[in-house]
């Protein structure tokens, strides 16, 4: 009886949610037209990248800051044990990881470059880089990081630092993150390269900075 009541309540909620979605009013302002109209001045020809790194670059700046903060929180909670030695693994898995990792780097660079004119971009490229690092770690070819040394910490912060520097320089010239149209493409590529590198390290760090625990316990 109780089960039936729960199922009925869940079905009613699902129906109400579906009805609410279908009844959704059209957006008060249509942003697609202005976004497409200013695409030529944005420095890239793919609208999603234009929104993420030009029109709404402020959001992306804060996003990378939040990711960095998440990793800092993990490091604070995880303590400071030494990096664990890699676990021995199946030679077949190791060979596969050795073959796949360079391909993943090529894919990441392609995604970064393609972001300017077709689906792709820094976040996706960074995730592919991080996946390659995680794969190498799981295959026993890459040590867990434990607490990252100075060079690694600089790498983790580099993307945010590059983004912030560009923002500061532009803020001195006028508005925050308002790229001049003739250099917008170069600036976006510079920021995206930094972001890809740091995001790869941060996302891999979410994995590798915690990796010591299971191997030393």
């Amino acid at each position: 009886m109780k089960r039936l009541a729960i199922i009925a309540a869940v079905l009613a909620f699902a129906a109400a949610t579906g009805a609410a979605m279908l009844d959704l009013a059209p957006a008060a302002i249509d942003l697609r037209t202005p976004a497409a109209a200013h695409l030529a001045q944005s420095g890239v020809s793919h609208p999603v990248t234009a929104v993420l790194l030009n029109y709404r670059a402020y959001d992306t700046l804060l996003e990378i800051a939040v990711l960095l903060l998440a990793l800092l929180a993990i490091l604070a909670v995880a303590g400071t044990p030494a990096a664990a030695p890699p676990q021995a693994s199946d030679p077949v898995v190791q060979t596969l990881a050795r073959l796949v990792a360079p391909l993943a780097v090529v894919v990441a660079v392609y995604l970064l470059w393609a972001g300017a004119f077709r689906p792709g971009g820094a976040f996706q490229a960074g995730a592919v880089l991080a996946a390659a690092a995680v794969l190498l770690h799981l295959a026993g070819l890459l040590r867990g990081w434990g607490f990252p040394p100075l060079r690694l910490r600089l790498g983790l912060a580099a993307g945010f630092a590059v983004f912030l520097t560009v923002a500061a320089v532009l803020a001195m010239r006028g508005a925050l993150l308002e790229y001049p149209p003739d250099t917008a493409g170069m600036l976006i590529l510079l920021i995206e390269s930094g972001l890809t590198f740091s995001l790869g390290l941060i996302l891999a760090g979410l994995f590798l900075c915690l990796a010591h625990e299971d191997e030393t316990s």
Partner: protein, 84 residues
């Protein structure tokens, strides 16, 4: 009923099925594999909704990285269970 519509219906059904399977699975490894399958189906759905950018992000982060993290966590749990 066109082929594209049939494909969409199958895709949506498979997504709901994998979501249910993830939540209802009694074995954790089964739940994780279904979660990864859910992420990959979600990628296809984003592609069908003409949002390939989100699709790529979902495949790389949702299915790939999160799946690997969950599998690693499961391995750690099992190893700890054996030591006790």
């Amino acid at each position: 009923m066109t082929l594209a519509l049939a494909f969409d219906v199958v895709l949506a059904g498979a997504l709901l099925w994998s979501a249910w399977g993830t939540l209802a699975a009694e074995r954790l490894d089964r739940a994780i594999v279904l979660f990864i399958a859910f992420g990959l189906l979600m990628t296809l759905i984003w592609a069908r909704l003409s949002a390939p950018d989100i699709g790529i992000a979902e495949a790389a982060i949702g299915a790939g990285l999160t799946g690997a993290l969950l599998l690693d966590a499961l391995g750690t749990l099992r190893r700890r269970g054996k030591q006790r």
